[in-house]
């Protein structure tokens, strides 16, 4: 009986700790994904502004060169663009919006920046595109800073909260 009780308490503790860890991990994920996204956008900038590479090829190159955890969305945009013969690049960006929220744990402001890139990507000359990239990269940088502060503040907090909630529940039950 004692063994069963101990086992149950251990399970409760571990579950709480894992929940706390997972919740805290979301902040790390957002931060890491934003950093990778920034790198991908920088690669895209190089391809377009300096290489004048046509957009579908540039998107493929970002997929190959960037961190695959994030860069796969650029390949998705390219596939959608070409397969569905979209009239505007923005339509393909809208297709990956859910992915940005879900898998990548991004916030509304982060996704909006990405969509704003989609609105103007490839629609003007290199000089204008360069300006767009500058603005987008500045905004992403600000979001990274924000994500970093949130991560430092909340990651440990939720992890500890999980552990403490586990201990609290055990005390209550005992």
């Amino acid at each position: 009986m004692l063994i069963l009780k101990t086992l149950s308490l251990a399970i409760i503790f571990i579950t709480c700790a894992i929940l706390g860890y997972c919740y805290g991990q979301r902040f790390t994920l957002r931060y890491e994904n934003l950093v990778s996204l920034e790198q991908c956008i920088k690669i895209l900038e190089t391809e377009i502004v300096y290489g004048a590479t046509p957009l579908p090829t540039a998107l493929s190159n970002v997929y190959k060169k960037g961190n695959p955890r994030v860069s796969y969305i650029f390949e998705k945009i390219k596939d959608d663009l070409l397969e569905k013969k979209r009239s505007f690049v923005f339509e393909s960006f809208l297709e990956i919006e859910d992915e940005l929220y879900g898998k990548m744990n991004l916030k509304k402001e982060d996704v909006e920046i990405m969509l704003s890139l989609g609105r103007v990507l490839g629609s003007s000359d290199r000089h204008d595109q360069s300006k767009v990239f500058k603005i987008v990269l500045n905004q992403i940088e600000a979001q990274i800073e924000d994500a970093k502060i949130e991560k430092n503040k909340n990651e440990k907090l939720y992890r500890n909260l999980g552990v403490l909630a586990g201990i609290g529940l055990i005390i209550l039950l005992v």
Binding site: I48, T53, P54, L55, P56, K85, S87, F88, S124, D125
Partner: protein, 324 residues
């Protein structure tokens, strides 16, 4: 069938609404269409056999403007995105010259607001019209002419093709280049350099000629004729240089340079007769020196690309053999 395939694959590059409409056009007409003209706020037009027609929503060809599909701003914008592969920035050099060449070698003329900068034209904005010229290869159309352009000692006569616009001079020049480059049973192929100022001859797309221009042909794409001729002489060691639409003073100077280097020349020029060309101020020197040894005059009397006359260096007619 091939013509229809070319048409269908080109139309795939247009805005969805226009694409659906143009794909509904009857088969027998699809193969003949030479141009598709899109203008903001104007009816969708196609051009073939010397006339333009409107296209209705269900693909009917009509001369009744009220039935025509009206092209709007979104149609133009999205078509421009599609034809430029979502990358107008990559085609800026071409756009500055007023066109884009797409896969298949089709050329799309652009109308809109021309933006000037410190170095001349910088861009075209607020695009108001797109004129899509369907590039069609007519492989073999020059076969009957080749014996008149090369003699049995493998000597190629400098040739000038004279033709009004839309009479097939570029198509004929391309096929002559293909024949010269590939060679045949009675002559070995020549090394040919094409100076393709407007990407029409070879239809270069991403470094690949979209047209059959022969195995011994080099292309200087998007290059001014005057610069290209000199560049080709210096670096490509051609036996023959091919250029489309000569006429400028600088072109004439470059032609002289090529002739001094012992290189043969084939060129086209806008005009309807030898006499008309002889009177052009810029061409006077060339005619006085009798640079050209063969003149081919085209018209549309028996369809596009009809050879109206063939003449030698003294402008005496050469009669084509029967059946040619």
């Amino acid at each position: 069938m091939k013509e229809i395939k070319i048409y269908n694959s080109l139309v795939e590059n247009l805005n969805e609404v226009l694409r659906d409409t143009l794909l509904k056009i009857p088969f027998h007409i699809k193969g003949k269409i030479e141009e598709i003209r899109l203008k903001r706020g104007m009816p969708l037009m196609i051009y073939y056999e010397g006339n333009d027609y409107f296209v209705s929503r269900n693909g009917e060809i009509t001369e009744d403007i009220s039935k025509a599909v009206i092209v709007n701003e979104k149609h133009i914008e999205s078509t421009f995105q599609l034809i430029s592969n979502y990358s107008p920035y990559a085609y800026l050099e071409e756009i500055k010259n007023g066109y884009i060449t797409i896969a298949g070698g089709h050329r799309i003329g652009i109308g809109g607001k021309v933006v000037y900068g410190q170095n001349g034209i910088e861009n075209i904005k607020n695009i108001s019209s797109l004129n899509i010229r369907i590039a069609r290869e007519k492989i073999g159309i020059s076969n009957f002419l080749m014996p008149y352009l090369i003699n049995d000692k493998r000597y190629f006569y400098n040739t000038l093709i004279i033709s009004p616009p839309q009479c097939g001079k570029t198509t004929l020049l391309r096929d002559i280049v293909r024949n010269l480059s590939n060679g045949s049973s009675f002559y070995k192929g020549f090394k040919v350099s094409i100076i393709d100022e407007r990407s029409e001859l070879a239809g270069m797309y991403n470094g690949i000629p979209q047209k059959d221009i022969g195995i011994r042909t080099d292309v200087l794409d998007g290059c001014l004729k005057s610069d290209g001729i000199i560049m080709a002489i210096r670096s490509l060691s051609p036996e023959i240089i091919a250029v489309d639409e000569i006429g400028g003073k600088k072109d004439v100077e470059a032609i002289h340079e090529a002739l001094r280097a012992g290189i043969k020349l084939i060129a086209t020029i806008h005009g309807s007769s030898i006499q008309e060309i002889r009177e052009k101020q810029s061409m006077k020197g060339i005619f006085e020196e009798k640079v050209f040894e063969r003149y081919i005059v085209l018209d549309r009397s028996n369809g596009v690309g009809t050879v109206k006359a063939l003449a030698d260096r003294n402008y005496n007619p050469i009669y084509l053999k029967k059946g040619a």
